[in-house]
């Protein structure tokens, strides 16, 4: 792949949404009684996106992957944390710098039936970003973008409206619109999940070509791990607003370490009847993202639960001694010598004296 320079650095990004409440509750709150509730959609996410790299954000619905993606292109302002682009911290950036950033950060949405304005022709849809950013040579650029998106001949599509196009064609228009500004990176949120099977591969190969020919970095957001394996260099698995495992795609898919990642990958059906898949049932459902549990967020569903340390200490996403990927789990030894037991209330041996009857030693 191309250069290894870091293009975008996400630093402890948090995005919390205030829970919508009735007017009586907000009145009570305004008198200073009670705290408002927040949905912790993204709760401390850090990663780097390198030049020319494709990164996949995976997880179940509600894990915060879309909110993370939208924050990356500044469709959300983070509650805390920051994004560093081109040595500029976006929280401190000037208006001109933000404008520059917006030109370089584009997004492709899931549903091409909703992401395109039904009253705008294909030409206007693709030309709009150029007008906003005051870029000349409009027609030639629009034409080039449509041609790249394999909408040929481009002129034929200029005056068409979205309703005249099929889903695959619409998604191609959305891709052309994202590319027309020549961005540095694109966030693609489930770019093919609304498309018919036979058309998916075509759009995927277009996206592939986009990364290769433009040297673009792409963040793919999807729940479909088979797809992410096909598209991405690296993966980050999210659970309840946090990244639980991050590293090279093949490593994570073939040798997942976090119990959640293991369950997630295990659940993916295989399009080959000859492959007998061992099925492990994961207990329970995704927890409450308003009233966040202490310690590890996955502990209640975890088959590897090892006692008080999981209850009390939030496992940091860090390099471990035994494998290539970063994992946020107390099961594995930190490569940096971090000891979660030191952070527990009481003595370091608190793990053994806990009232969990089935707690097993951490080194098991």
């Amino acid at each position: 792949m191309s250069g290894n320079e870091v293009l975008l650095e996400v630093d402890d990004l948090k995005k919390h949404f205030k829970v919508n409440q009735g007017w009586i509750a907000s009145l009570v709150e305004s008198f200073g009684r009670g705290e408002p509730d927040y949905v912790h959609a993204v709760d401390g996410v850090s990663f780097e996106l390198r030049e020319g790299e494709t990164l996949g954000l995976a997880g179940e619905s509600g894990c915060g992957k879309t909110t993370t993606g939208m924050s990356l292109v500044k469709l959300h302002d983070p509650t805390a944390g920051d994004i560093v682009y081109d040595d500029t911290r976006l929280s401190e950036a000037s208006d001109a710098e933000i404008k520059q950033f917006r030109q370089n950060a584009q997004m492709i949405f899931q549903d091409p039936f909703e992401s395109l304005n039904p009253r705008m022709t294909v030409y206007d849809t693709v030309a709009e970003p150029l007008r906003i950013h005051d870029i000349r040579n409009e027609t030639a650029r629009v034409q080039r973008a449509l041609e790249f998106a394999e909408l040929l001949p481009a002129e034929h599509y200029f005056d068409q409206y979205p309703h005249e196009l099929s889903g695959g064609q619409r998604q191609r228009v959305a891709i052309a619109r994202a590319l027309v500004l020549d961005p540095d990176f694109i966030v693609a949120d489930e770019p093919v999940s609304m498309l018919d099977v036979s058309l998916r591969a075509g759009v995927l190969s277009l996206l592939d070509r986009m990364t290769d020919e433009f040297g673009l970095s792409v963040v793919y957001i999807s729940h479909d791990l088979s797809l992410l394996r096909h598209m991405c260099d690296r993966l980050a698995i999210m659970y309840m607003g946090k990244i639980v495992e991050k590293g090279p795609t093949d490593q994570i898919i073939e040798n997942p370490q976090h119990p959640y990642t293991q369950a997630l990958i295990n659940a993916v059906p295989v399009p080959d009847p000859a492959v007998g898949r061992e099925r492990v049932e994961l207990q329970g459902e995704v927890g409450d993202v308003i009233d966040i549990p202490t310690g590890c967020r996955f502990k209640n569903r975890c088959s590897e639960y090892i006692g008080d340390v999981c209850d009390q200490v939030v496992p940091p996403l860090e390099a471990k001694t035994d494998f290539e990927q970063d994992v946020a789990c107390h099961l594995y030894d930190s490569a940096e010598g971090y000891d979660p037991y030191q952070e527990m209330t009481g003595s370091p041996s608190a793990a053994e004296t806990g009232d969990e009857p089935e707690s097993t030693p951490a080194d098991d």
Partner: protein, 346 residues
């Protein structure tokens, strides 16, 4: 004995330009306890087929020809009242969006109890409540939650409640239309697992309609591949995946990324299915097929039987001997797409 026998079924939709032939001459059988997957892209007629079987075609839809024999009775000749009696009790359906299939103003328990009492008059409250509890346990829901309203359930729970309802009367045939498409993988896995274990327990057969080839690979005994209202290929799941004869099956199978493979060229079938109002003569897939000849465009293919498969392709023989690697190569399909690119515009 086969439980369901669909013969030469034609389901049309009335449109202003004439009838759209959504299902056109489809025949197949479902044995007792058998799982059949129906795959194909949107508009291939798979959902229409299911709706025709359970008898919930929209007003514009009608059965033009053919028969649907269920346990010896022809469903197409029954009155609505007779069919209604069969629904839930003998044939039940799990629809794609459980969100819209449950009534928001009744609790889940009330809805299931209603279904039970309608079909089994005389069932007491106590008994039907007992059935609800059993079914909830079977699908992995807390029976105490049965008194909740649908909006209090998450998507996965609603889908499971739908399945509980579909199973409550132990039907002998279940139609599942994209039963897990709206769900996350973990939930999908759990539901599919439960469905097959329950099914084994009550020995019912199931028709699973989906676009997801991998779901079919894991849950079905046999597969029907549909294209533009017709069966393209049909047979045991292993043969369909290992040695298909129809280029469309080969293409569809190769269009899916496999999580177990690190690098894979995905295949893209360019173009769109034909109009069903005035379908082309000859093979319906000819326009998108990289191997199509004039014969394909003019003459409708007859069934080719081999290895337990029924394949509607003129060149099934040659695919078996020499053409398969050619059809299995994404490059072949790209070239075909490039060749037709100039002429595809309308």
């Amino acid at each position: 004995m086969s439980q369901l026998e669909v013969e030469d079924l034609e389901v049309y939709y009335e449109t202003e330009e004439g009838p759209a032939q959504a299902v056109d001459g489809v025949s197949f059988e479902v044995e007792e306890g058998e799982n059949i997957g129906i795959v194909g892209e949107s508009g291939c007629g798979k959902t229409t087929l299911a709706k025709a079987i359970i008898g919930i075609l929209p007003d514009a839809g009608y059965i033009n020809n053919g028969s649907i024999n269920f346990k010896g009775d022809d469903l197409t000749e029954m009155t609505n009242a007779q069919r209604r009696r069969l629904k839930w009790e003998e044939i039940s359906m799990i629809a794609q969006s459980a969100m819209n299939s449950l009534d928001p103003v009744y609790t889940i328990r009330e809805q299931i109890v209603e279904a039970i009492e309608t079909h089994r008059p005389g069932t007491g409250r106590v008994e039907s409540t007992e059935i609800v509890t059993q079914m909830f346990e079977l699908v992995g829901l807390d029976p105490e939650r049965a008194d909740d309203y649908p909006h209090q359930f998450s998507g996965g729970m609603r889908q499971r409640a739908m399945i509980a309802m579909a199973l409550a009367l132990e039907p002998s045939l279940m139609l599942a239309d994209e039963p897990t498409t709206a769900l996350d993988v973990i939930m999908q896995d759990q539901i599919l697992k439960r469905m097959s274990s329950i099914q084994e327990e009550i020995n019912s057969s199931m028709l699973v309609i989906t676009h997801d080839v991998s779901v079919v690979a894991e849950t079905c005994d046999r597969v029907i591949v549909m294209y533009a209202g017709k069966i393209a290929e049909e047979g045991p799941v292993d043969e369909i995946f290992n040695q298909p004869y129809h280029p469309y099956t080969i293409g569809l199978k190769r269009a899916f990324p496999n999580i177990r493979k690190s690098s894979q060229d995905l295949l893209s079938i360019s173009g769109y299915p034909p109009e069903l109002i005035d379908p082309p003569q000859g093979c319906r897939f000819a326009e998108r097929c990289p191997m199509a000849t004039d014969r394909c465009r003019e003459e409708e293919p007859e069934a080719h039987y081999e290895n337990g498969l029924r394949s509607y392709c003129h060149y099934a023989d040659e695919i078996d001997t020499e053409l398969r690697p050619y059809a299995d190569d994404p490059g072949t399909w790209d070239q075909a797409a490039a060749a037709t690119d100039g002429g595809v515009e309308e």
